[in-house]
């Protein structure tokens, strides 16, 4: 028996950065907003005194419990997809505040090239540069139009950074709200080496605050203590830019907002072109509720956004055979073939590598986006080259030079010796979109409610292998210039290995100007349902060569503006433009 609740203006599914921004902006504007979070409640008090690597890193304390629901995964269309069963293979942040509570905090604006990758590639290199079957497309919004949303999110989140000194870097309307984080010795080493090679190093822009700060909404955040318990942990100092210390308190104090935890949304209720509300289950009592609303916002991370639309029958599912349909199209992301580079072992130098923070590091953008000439290169786009200092957990950090056995006396001796004497430089390479990489519902495997699991079909291409090789080579050059005694290169994996441990998965409900090849317009409003807004990395038509969270935050501000406009005027906010070109 479904209990029907009182209608509200806006219901938001998911309370991470995407959902959190919408909750704050709409409740500030006086609308009645309800957020539904399937995880449990959590606050800063949950993270005081619990710096325990085994529990948080190895036993995935903050990650989704897969016993009731996971995804299935395959490489090719003709294969049977198998479930991704363990949290070591599929790690997705859950609970109030979403994945960004355990987030590392690296923040990059994506570049002008990324937002118009198709037209700018053709403009510079000709149509032939885009291989057949690579389905990249322009977003329908430019960097110049995104700049103010990036700026707004940076100030809400208190990002600590310095402008990219690369002359090709995109312009900023103002500086970061906080100065960059401290320069540790490994970062100094990285900067000296990259300057010697003619590159333009700068501090990784960080969602770990360099000083105590109060954001424009009046939320106070503290300074980071470089304690190293950051990625996969909640921050016990409230020094990490996440919704728990920013947009959720802001929404709450307006009095127009209510967050319901333990609320697992199963369907979006949808009739002749409009949504009427959502159906959700209270995970503790099992009771089913219908929450009516004028506007439905899906902000539940890429997989759930896609799955809810497929389960609810909203939008035409993508079919790889005909290459028609939009839901599930252009699935993309960064996986094991990204973040490859070169690891250096130093016999003379020893670093205080037990110290660090999620986004402490140095980076260069000289080989990012289209900042370098691709005429004679066999791949598109690029990536940042980073040297990150997370602070090494003792269980996790047992790096040994290649050829060292992975267990036994020699392994123990070398791993202990190199514990604080090894650094890595890697390439955060972009990932394009292809007709054969997509999301759909699995024909066999089900969740606890009997609903089909989401199925991922994804494989690597020469684009991925070539860009990884390029990055490894450049990383090696830099690690050698840093003076490492031994430099080991990562090996390029031949095929995607069904491991989803980075949180960088995107696409499936992508932005564009043509409703036959995109699901949402540039306000993230669905072409097929004017009162549904689908926010998050699911909107990315392809992946750039940098971390995604800042772009998710900026898009959430863009969508909030659109939602307010829709609530006032109604109707489609962007004119449809049928573009004749293909897929």
């Amino acid at each position: 028996m479904v209990i029907k609740l009182e209608k509200v203006d806006v219901v938001v599914v998911g309370t991470g950065w995407a959902g959190g921004v919408v909750c704050a902006e709409l409740s500030k504007a006086g609308y009645k907003v309800v957020a539904l979070e399937r995880g449990k409640n959590q606050t800063r008090e949950d993270y005081i005194g619990v710096k325990d690597e085994l529990r948080y890193t190895n036993r995935y304390e903050m990650m989704q419990n897969l016993s009731s629901e996971t995804i299935t995964s395959r490489n090719n269309l003709d294969e049977v997809a198998l479930p991704v069963r363990t949290r070591k293979e599929m790690m997705a942040g859950t609970d109030l505040g979403g994945g960004s509570v355990h987030w590392a905090g690296a923040c990059y604006r994506w570049t002008p090239y990324d937002f118009e990758i198709k037209s700018k590639t053709i403009e510079r290199y000709g149509k032939g540069k885009i291989p057949e079957g690579m389905t990249i497309q322009d977003w329908g919004i430019t960097y110049d139009e995104m700049e103010k949303y990036y700026d707004k999110w940076e100030k809400t989140a208190g990002i600590s950074g310095e402008a990219d000194p690369n002359p090709l870097a995109a312009k900023r309307s103002s500086d970061y709200p906080n100065p960059p984080m401290k320069e540790s010795p490994p970062i100094k080493l990285f900067k000296e080496a990259t300057k010697k090679l003619g590159y333009h190093p700068f501090q990784v822009p960080a969602g770990n605050l360099s000083q105590s700060y109060t954001n424009p909404d009046g939320e106070a955040m503290n300074a980071c203590m470089y304690c190293s318990y950051c990625t996969q942990y909640g921050c016990d100092f409230g020094a990490k830019s996440d919704p728990l210390v920013s947009v959720i308190p802001t929404a709450t104090k307006t009095g127009n907002f209510e967050a319901r935890v333990g609320a697992n949304v199963r369907r979006v209720l949808y009739k002749n072109g409009k949504a009427t509300g959502v159906l959700y289950v209270n995970t503790l009592t099992g009771e089913e509720y219908e929450q009516p609303a004028d506007v439905i916002v899906l902000a539940a991370f890429t997989f759930t956004n896609n799955r809810l639309l497929l389960l609810s029958g909203i939008g035409e599912p993508y079919d790889p055979k005909t290459r028609k349909g939009v839901i599930g199209r252009n699935y993309n992301g960064q996986f094991g073939i990204t973040f490859l580079g070169a690891r250096g072992f130093f016999d003379e130098k020893k670093f205080n590598y037990y110290a660090g923070a999620g986004a402490l590091g140095g980076v260069i953008s000289d080989y990012a986006a289209d900042n370098f000439d691709h005429t004679n290169l066999n791949f598109l786009n690029g990536g940042g080259i980073e040297m990150r200092q997370y602070g090494s957990g003792p269980i996790a950090t047992n790096k040994v030079p290649k050829g060292t056995p992975s267990w036994g006396a020699e392994f123990k001796k070398k791993s202990v010796h190199y514990t604080n004497r090894s650094l890595v430089v890697w390439y955060t390479s972009a990932n394009m979109a292809w007709w054969h990489n997509y999301l759909s519902l699995d024909p066999t495997y089900k969740d606890d409610n009997g609903d089909p699991l989401l199925r991922v079909t994804f494989k690597y291409t020469d684009q991925d292998r070539n860009i990884a090789k390029f990055g490894i080579e450049k990383s090696r050059e830099i690690m050698e210039a840093m003076g490492a005694d031994i430099v080991d290169e990562d090996e390029v994996p031949q095929e995607f290995d069904h491991v989803y441990d980075g949180g960088h998965y995107a696409g499936g409900v992508i932005m564009g100007t043509d409703p036959t090849t995109s699901a949402v317009n540039n306000y993230l409003q669905m072409w097929d349902a004017e009162n549904i807004f689908v926010i998050g990395a699911s909107a990315f038509p392809q992946f750039a060569g940098h971390h995604p969270t800042e772009t998710v935050g900026a898009l959430a501000y863009r969508a909030s503006e659109g939602i307010e406009k829709y609530l006032k005027e109604g109707g489609m906010l962007v004119a449809k433009k049928e573009v004749s070109t293909q897929v």
């Binding site: 890193t57 490489n75 203590m225 470089y226 205080n352 036994g408 290995d497 949180g503």
Partner: protein, 276 residues
């Protein structure tokens, strides 16, 4: 139950006396000197292998998962080969790693409580593909360093981690018997390494699970036992952290983050950090 010793039936509701009459077992009597008989006597002997940890009377060093002492002894011997005592410091047994693993297998992790264990299961690991999860995993979130070691079969078995460990350890003993005609704990160090290498290279069939999956779990839990907080039973007296000069959980490294030379700090435990 496949590995029931000869002559012992699983009969329900049988009284102890009838059981003894039917099976010819009498106190101290040995049924034809079979495996079952030696197991009985074996239990009562002192076990030098784990003796050292009992000397400092640590109350938590007792089995809570392994019901057969022999399985635990195989585990202890295997972890000591994986993480041996040397001039840097103690090995697995002295660090309490076997008891750490025993405890972990009795937690929700041991019974896969938070993993997706709904069928159907692709029982044979050959067609499940592999995943290149780094064995010396550095789990640091989305920017995890992913060196690409030999591929590991995806986790597609119906068996839980605790079942895999029991199956794997007993198979280790069978391989030892087959290769060297003695139980694993009785082999020389080099012979034990030879058996471990066969598991590491996936040369052993564990019926339903690749031996590499088991072996990777053994490596992972050995490292976890060496370097997790001592509250979990391993890293005894923080000797693992002392070897690596790891300070333990701290509120802040503001004073160290910009310093060039290495700053050695005495390790503190989670217990200290939580204010005791």
């Amino acid at each position: 139950m496949a590995d029931n010793p000869k002559g012992v039936q699983d009969k329900k509701g049988m009284s102890r006396r009838t059981f003894m009459k039917n099976t010819g077992l009498v106190a101290g009597g040995v049924v034809g000197g079979g495996l079952f008989g030696s197991l009985l006597t074996n239990q009562l002997q002192d076990k030098p292998a784990v003796q050292s940890t009992q000397e400092n009377g640590l109350i938590q060093d007792a089995r809570v998962f392994f019901s057969r002492g022999q399985d635990f002894d195989i585990l202890a011997a295997a972890t000591e080969r994986i993480f041996p005592k040397d001039d840097l410091g103690p090995g697995a047994i002295e660090l309490g790693i076997p008891y750490f693993i025993d405890k972990q297998l009795s937690t929700e992790w041991g019974i896969n409580a938070k993993e997706y264990m709904k069928g159907p299961f692709a029982v044979y690991t050959t067609n499940t593909g592999t995943h290149n999860n780094s064995r010396n995993q550095s789990q640091q979130g989305p920017n995890a360093e992913t060196q690409v070691p030999a591929p590991t079969p995806r986790y597609q078995t119906k068996m839980t981690r605790s079942e895999i460990f029991v199956t794997g350890l007993r198979e280790m003993d069978n391989v030892a018997q087959k290769e060297f005609g003695a139980s694993f704990v009785k082999l020389t160090g080099e012979q034990q390494d030879e058996v471990l290498r066969m598991f590491d290279e996936g040369k052993v069939d564990l019926k339903g699970i690749g031996s590499k999956n088991f072996f990777n779990m053994l490596l992972q839990t050995t490292l976890e036992g060496a370097y997790a907080d001592p509250v979990y039973g391993g890293n005894k007296n923080m000797m693992g952290w002392k070897m690596k000069e790891y300070p333990g959980p701290r509120a802040s490294y503001m004073a160290q983050i910009e310093v060039d030379e290495f700053v050695k700090l005495e390790p503190q435990s989670l217990r200290n950090y939580q204010g005791h």
